[in-house]
């Protein structure tokens, strides 16, 4: 192996082991920031030694042992003892005793540590952006540079964000634990929100961007899949995973040959990824067997599943989609959900049914500059043969959209109304 090969191997090993390493260390040290530093130290040690000694038989155990030795050194040098006194003194002793026990260092309980780490990185004391950056750093194992490129932010900004987040966690004395029942629901939704934000950040990326942006979808999927195994009894986690798998299954079909966006109903379904669809439907099944009232992610995944199950767009079960949107709208009232429900109603029961709901949204301030409102209304009016009104709506939508291709499409439709 050349030095470059070894470095790539170390990168790969570290990617596999890092989150477990940080999680295990954070449990002992009760300090996520310090745990990450020590994990980095272990990586540096590997980079120094492995090119000469070769990659050890059990690299994960090696990294953990090295990190623990560093932790003991740090504790002995008293930097921490000042801060945490006797408690850490005792920890240092306990730590020393555990060092030779390498198997235990990588035991199965690591799952609980990892879950604690996820909940800590996504703690509500942090801003959503900080949570996302910290989660990608600590659990996803992305470098600061990679996170910066993914979020189109300068690297120092992200570095600062991560440093501050870690400091905030220490200052607010956030406990390294899985939240108790009373706050679990709120804390869990904070975690799910972060993962879905990461996914959407990648999903919204257009072609030609830095490859790190689409990579975010993969990272979010991976985080979701990890979480689904760690907290397998939470239906909303499986709902989120199902939603992401199903949305990702359409990735290859949602842009045309020249990069133009292709709407769901016009997509070539042969290009949908059946493996991801299968995984998505399975995740949804897992969520449904866990009983309870379906939450927003399960509902959105159920809607996505209606599309995934239809072999052609004509086979789509619009009645069911409209019903699911109605439940979703009650759970999290939003004019955007209502607009989607209107589309489903129109598909299920005819344009008039959809138009009646759309008309109630016309004074909604949140949708005042939302181009899809006039665009949907124009489409429904067109279907009803009210061409003059339809044309006005298409023109209004064209003026509101910021996407050039979409504007052209809308103006074409407006022109077609004039000819009709």
């Amino acid at each position: 192996m050349t030095a470059a090969d070894i470095h790539r191997t170390i990168d790969a090993v570290f990617r596999i082991e890092q989150a477990k390493l940080i999680a295990g260390l954070a449990r002992i040290l009760r300090d996520v920031g310090l745990a990450e530093e020590l994990a980095q130290d272990a990586l540096v040690a590997a980079l120094e030694r492995w090119p000469e000694s070769g990659v050890p038989e059990n690299p994960g155990a090696w990294l953990m042992a090295t990190a623990k030795h560093r932790a003991i050194d740090r504790l002995r040098h008293g930097k921490l003892v000042e801060r945490k006194h006797e408690e850490l003194g005792r920890e240092a002793e306990a730590l020393e005793q555990t060092v030779p026990d390498l198997d235990a260092a990588l035991d199965d309980d690591i799952g609980d540590d990892l879950l604690r780490l996820v909940f800590t990185a996504c703690h509500p004391v942090l801003s959503t952006e900080a949570r996302a950056a910290l989660t990608l750093r600590l659990i996803g194992g992305l470098t600061t540079d990679e996170i910066a490129r993914a979020f189109l932010a300068p690297e120092p900004t992200i570095a600062q964000r991560i440093v501050r987040a870690k400091r905030t966690l220490a200052e607010k004395q956030v406990r390294f634990e899985v939240p108790r029942a009373s706050e679990r629901e709120a804390r869990l939704s904070s975690v799910l929100e972060v993962i879905y934000l990461i996914f959407n950040e990648g999903y919204a990326a257009t072609a030609g961007d830095d490859w790190m942006r689409p990579q975010l979808c993969e990272e979010a999927l991976r985080l979701g899949r990890i979480l689904a195994e760690l907290a397998a009894t939470e239906p909303e986690i499986h709902g989120l995973v199902a939603l992401m798998e199903l949305q990702a299954s359409r990735f290859g079909a949602r842009t045309g040959a020249s990069g133009e966006p292709v709407l769901l109903l016009d997509q070539d379904r042969a290009r949908w990824d059946q493996l991801l669809i299968r995984r998505g439907l399975k995740a949804l099944e897992r969520a449904e067997t866990l009983s309870g009232v379906p939450g927003p992610y399960v509902l959105q995944a159920s809607i996505a599943a209606c599309h995934a199950r239809a072999r052609t767009s004509e086979e789509t079960d619009w009645v069911r989609i409209a019903a699911l949107y109605a439940v979703l709208a009650q759970l999290m009232p939003s004019p955007v959900v209502e607009l989607n429900r209107a589309v489903a109603l129109a598909m299920a029961f005819g344009a008039q049914a959809g138009l009646e709901l759309v008309d109630t949204l016309m004074t909604e301030p949140l949708l005042a500059n939302y181009h899809l409102l006039p665009s949907v209304r124009g489409d429904l009016l067109h279907k009803l043969g009210r061409f003059e009104e339809a044309r006005a709506e298409f023109e209004r939508a064209a003026a509101l959209t910021r996407n050039g291709r979409e504007r052209k499409l809308l103006l074409d439709r407006a022109a077609a109304c004039t000819r009709a």
Binding site: R15, G202, R225, I226, E229, F251, G252, L275
Partner: protein, 124 residues
């Protein structure tokens, strides 16, 4: 990026079932990979006696039922990983082979790693 890993070995190794301890260890590794969020799909294949080959040669399509006794090595199982680099899937495959080394004395075989051409969401 997605990779398919195919485990190949001579079918003489498949005459009998693999050791129980190996099957258990592979199950644990699969669980680790699932918990790490990188395992997308995995499966084992029955012996070639349960399969067939459809061959096109010199303009003629022929069907041959298994077993393929002449084959030096056959695929015994597969896994699809979604990882960040080829090195990462190599690392998982090394761990997979280490289990064979530990639990199945004398076993010889290989894992062939191939990148899947289309893997939405892709990063091409």
């Amino acid at each position: 990026m997605r990779f398919m890993c195919m485990v190949k070995s001579s079918e003489t190794w498949r005459a009998g079932p693999p050791p129980k301890s190996l099957i258990e260890a592979i199950g644990q590794l699969g669980e680790q990979a699932t918990k790490a969020g990188v395992m997308v799909e995995m499966g084992g294949l029955l012996p070639t006696s349960a399969g067939a080959r459809v061959t096109l040669s010199r303009g003629k399509v022929t069907v041959i039922d298994g077993p393929f006794t002449e084959a030096k090595e056959v695929v015994g199982g597969y896994a699809v990983y979604n990882v960040k680099s080829k090195e990462e899937v190599i690392e998982w495959s090394k761990r997979f082979m280490d289990l064979h080394k530990e639990h199945w004395k004398g076993f010889e075989g290989e894992v062939e790693i191939r990148q899947l051409m289309e893997g939405p969401p892709d990063c091409q």
